[in-house]
C-alpha cells in the first residue's frame, strides 16, 4: 500500500507520459527574434543532454519548461503537465540549477539550502533534514557550516546542485553545470549528475555547449541550433559523431591532409590543425603511418571533445560524413541534411 503510494508520487501524471514533450514549440521575441522554431521532441526518463551553441535557444526552452515564459505557439509538457496551465505544479516537482552565480555569500550552505527547501514547499523540520542530506549527497560535509563566500567554485556549484535537489524533484534542469570548473571538478560534477540520474532515479536534463562533456553521462541527446531541433536521439548514435582526432603538425598540414584522404580517412582542415574522424583503431594507425611516411614534425595528437557547432558545420565535410554515418537524413522531418546544417551554420 505504501509502496503503491510512493510509486504514485514518483509518477504524478502517469508513468507513460514522457518527462518532457514539446510539440511545434515556437517562441518569438518581437517580430525579428525567433528563439525557438517549431521544436518537436519527446524525452523519456534518465539523463538527457541538451546541447547547442550559446544563443541556440537552450535557456528559452528551460524557461518555457518551468512555465516562466509562454510559448508563442505550440505546446510543451513536463511530467505530463502542460507548462502554461500547470507551471506552478511543474515548478514544485522540478529542481533548477541556473548557469550563473546565484548564491548569497554571507550565509552558510546549510542555512541557504534549508531556506530553499522551505521555498519548495517543505515544512521547517523536513527542509532542515533534507538540506543536510542533499549537501551530503553532493559531497559537502563539515564545510556546510561555513559561509558560502569562502567556498571554491566547485563547492559553489555543488551548493547550487544541492538547492535544486533538496525538494526531492522528479526532474532536474541543470543549466551548464560544469561551467567554470577545472577538469577534475568537471569530472566530479558529471559523476554526481550520473549518480543522480541513475542511483537516485531522478530524471535530469543537462544543458551544455560541449557535446563531448555530456555525452559521457547521457542516455539521450537533444541538439538544437538557432531554435531548431537538429536531432533528438539516444546517445549511442551520437557518440560516433564526436569521436574526432585533432592532429597538429608544425608544417605540411595540407600534405598530410592529402595523404590521409588518400588512405581513406575523413579529414578536414580547421585553421592550424587537421580534424580526423575516428572510424576505429585503424584511424590512429593511418595517422601515425602518414606522419611517419611524410616525415612531418608532429606537435600534437588529441582525441577531442567536439563542439556542437563544429559538428554541424555545413562547410566541413567531416560533419556531412559524420551525419551521414549516424543516419542523419530526412527521416525526422521535411528538411534535407544540407538545409538543416545550413540553418545551424547561420548562427
Amino acid at each position: 500500500m505504501t509502496a503503491d503510494q510512493a510509486s504514485q508520487a514518483r509518477a504524478p501524471a502517469g508513468a507513460d507520459a514522457p518527462v518532457i514533450a514539446a510539440t511545434a514549440l515556437t517562441k518569438r521575441f518581437g517580430a525579428s527574434i525567433t528563439a525557438l522554431d517549431a521544436l518537436t521532441m519527446a524525452v523519456g526518463p534518465g539523463i538527457t543532454g541538451l546541447v547547442g551553441a550559446n544563443g541556440a535557444g537552450k535557456s528559452t526552452l528551460i524557461k518555457i519548461l518551468l512555465g516562466l515564459l509562454q510559448p508563442t505557439s505550440g505546446t510543451a509538457a513536463v511530467l505530463g503537465l502542460d507548462t502554461v496551465a500547470h507551471g506552478e505544479q511543474i515548478r514544485g516537482l522540478t529542481g533548477y540549477m541556473p548557469e550563473h552565480d546565484c548564491l548569497p555569500p554571507d550565509v552558510t550552505a546549510t542555512e541557504f539550502v534549508t531556506h530553499m527547501g522551505r521555498m519548495s514547499g517543505m515544512p521547517p523540520t523536513a527542509a532542515k533534514e533534507r538540506a543536510a542530506e542533499s549537501l551530503r549527497h553532493v559531497g559537502l560535509y563539515e564545510e556546510r557550516y561555513r559561509q558560502i563566500g569562502t567556498y571554491s567554485t566547485g563547492m559553489k556549484q555543488r551548493v547550487k546542485l544541492a538547492q535544486a535537489l533538496t525538494g526531492d524533484p522528479r526532474l532536474l534542469l541543470l543549466d551548464e553545470p560544469t561551467n567554470g570548473l577545472d577538469p577534475a571538478g568537471r569530472t566530479a560534477m558529471l559523476d554526481l549528475i550520473s549518480r543522480i540520474g541513475g542511483e537516485f532515479g531522478i530524471s535530469v536534463v543537462v544543458s551544455s555547449h560541449l557535446l563531448g562533456e555530456v555525452e559521457q553521462i547521457c542516455d539521450h541527446l537533444v541538439a538544437i541550433a538557432a531554435g531548431r531541433l537538429l536531432r533528438s536521439a539516444t546517445m549511442s548514435s551520437f557518440t560516433q559523431v564526436s569521436q574526432v582526432l585533432a592532429v597538429e603538425v608544425e608544417e605540411g598540414a595540407d600534405l598530410l591532409g592529402a595523404e590521409l584522404a588518400a588512405r581513406g580517412v575523413s579529414v578536414v582542415r580547421a585553421e592550424r590543425e587537421l580534424v580526423v574522424l575516428i572510424a576505429g583503431d585503424e584511424t590512429f594507425d593511418a595517422v601515425r603511418d602518414a606522419v611517419a611516411r611524410l616525415g612531418l614534425p608532429l606537435i600534437r595528437m588529441e582525441q577531442r571533445r567536439h563542439r556542437v557547432e563544429e559538428l554541424f558545420r555545413a562547410d566541413a565535410s567531416i560533419a556531412g560524413a559524420a551525419l551521414a554515418r549516424v543516419g542523419f537524413d530526412a527521416s525526422a522531418g521535411g528538411h534535407t541534411t544540407a538545409a538543416r546544417t545550413a540553418a545551424a551554420d547561420g548562427h
Binding site: A3, S59, T94, Y96, P98, M122, P123, R130, G167
Partner: protein, 324 residues
C-alpha cells in the same frame, strides 16, 4: 503486483544498493513523502524569513546593531514617560500616543528604513538568487508582496511597540478603571496611526532599495529620498512661516492661520503627509505638520498616491528580473 511496486520502491529509495548490503553510514537517496505546501504557505515562509532579516535575526551580530539601536531610541520617549510619571513629576502622560515625538520618529525611521530595506531586497538582487525563487512554485508578484508584508510588519513593530510601552508605562501610574479606559481609548488611534505609517513607508523603502543590488546605492537612494523630502518640507515651511502674513516665525497651530503654500509644502514628504492625514482623520495632538484643515483630502490623495505608486513600482521591479 504488490511485490513489483515494492521492488520499484526499494530501487528508487536506496539506489543501486540492495537492502542490507549498503554501508551503514550511506543510507542512499531518500525520497520525500511528507507534505508539500503551495504558493500561499511558501509566500508566508518567505515573509517570516524576511521579517527576521529586517531585524538581523539569523545573521551575524553586526547585522543587529542598527535594528537594536534604532529600536532602543524609538522606545526612549516611552521609557522617559514611565520614569517621569513614576517619580510623580507629572500627573499626566508627557508623550502623545498618536504623534509620539514626531521629529524623533521620522529621523529614527529614516535610518532604520535606509539600513534595513536593502537587507530585504538588494541582497537577493546582488547575489542573483531570484531565479531560484522564481523557479519554485511562487509567482513573480508573490515575492515583492511577501517582502512588503514583512517590512510593513517590521515597521509596525518599530512604531507600535514603543506606543504599547507608552501605554503600559502610563496605565501603571493611573488609578481607576475610568482612567485606564481613557488611556486605552487614546492609545488605539495611536496604534492605528502606526499601522498607517508602516503600510505606507514599507513599499516606499522597498521600491527605492530595490533600484540596485549594491547596498550602498540602495541605502543611498532610500536615505536621500526620505531625508531630502523631509528636509525640503521642513525648510520651505520655515521660510513660509517667517515671511508669511503673520511674519512671527512662531509655530502656528490653527488651520485657518496657515497659508496655502505651507499646506502644499507638507505634501512633499511622506512623513508630513502621514501626519497630515492623521490630523485630517481626527488626530488632535500637535504633530510635525500643521493641521491640513480644508486640504485634508489632498493629503489623503497624496497618501494613496505614495502607497499606490511605490507598491506598483515594487511589483514591476520584479516582473522584469530575468531567470537565466
Amino acid at each position: 503486483m504488490a511485490t513489483d511496486n515494492m521492488a520499484d520502491d526499494v530501487g528508487v529509495g536506496t539506489g543501486a544498493l540492495a537492502p542490507g548490503t549498503g554501508v551503514i553510514h550511506d543510507i542512499g537517496y531518500q525520497t520525500y513523502d511528507g507534505p508539500r505546501f503551495g504558493r500561499a504557505t511558501i509566500a508566508l515562509a518567505l515573509c517570516w524569513h524576511s521579517l527576521r532579516s529586517a531585524f538581523g535575526v539569523g545573521r551575524g551580530a553586526k547585522a543587529k546593531i542598527i535594528p537594536v539601536l534604532t529600536f532602543a531610541i524609538m522606545c526612549a520617549p516611552a521609557v522617559i514617560n514611565a520614569v517621569v510619571m513614576a517619580l510623580g513629576r507629572s500627573h499626566g502622560r508627557v508623550v502623545s500616543y498618536d504623534a509620539y515625538v514626531g521629529p524623533l520618529r521620522v529621523l529614527v525611521l529614516v535610518v532604520f528604513i535606509a539600513a534595513q530595506a536593502p537587507e530585504l531586497v538588494s541582497r537577493d538582487l546582488r547575489s542573483r538568487v531570484l531565479p531560484l525563487y522564481f523557479a519554485r512554485p511562487i509567482r513573480r508578484r508573490d515575492y515583492p508582496l511577501a517582502k512588503f508584508a514583512a517590512f510593513a510588519l517590521a515597521l509596525l513593530a518599530m512604531i507600535d511597540i514603543p506606543v504599547l510601552l507608552l501605554y503600559v508605562g502610563t496605565i501603571m501610574q493611573v488609578h481607576g478603571g475610568a482612567a485606564i479606559w481613557a488611556q486605552t481609548r487614546a492609545a488605539v488611534p495611536g496604534l492605528l496611526v502606526g499601522l498607517m505609517w508602516a503600510v505606507v513607508l514599507a513599499p516606499i523603502g522597498l521600491a527605492l532599495a530595490s533600484v540596485s543590488g549594491r547596498r550602498a546605492f540602495s541605502t543611498g537612494s532610500v536615505a536621500i529620498f526620505l531625508f531630502m523630502t523631509w528636509t525640503l518640507t521642513t525648510v520651505l515651511t520655515k521660510i513660509v512661516q517667517s515671511t508669511g502674513p503673520h511674519g512671527t516665525g512662531a509655530r502656528l497651530s490653527s488651520a485657518a492661520q496657515v497659508s496655502a503654500a505651507e499646506h502644499l509644502f507638507g505634501l512633499i514628504s511622506p512623513f508630513t503627509v502621514l501626519d497630515g492625514v492623521r490630523q485630517w482623520l481626527g488626530g488632535t495632538s500637535h504633530g510635525i505638520v500643521a493641521d491640513p484643515g480644508g486640504y485634508g483630502a489632498a493629503y489623503g490623495v497624496a497618501l494613496l498616491a505614495f502607497l499606490g505608486v511605490s507598491l506598483a513600482a515594487l511589483v514591476r521591479r520584479y516582473a522584469s528580473v530575468s531567470v537565466s
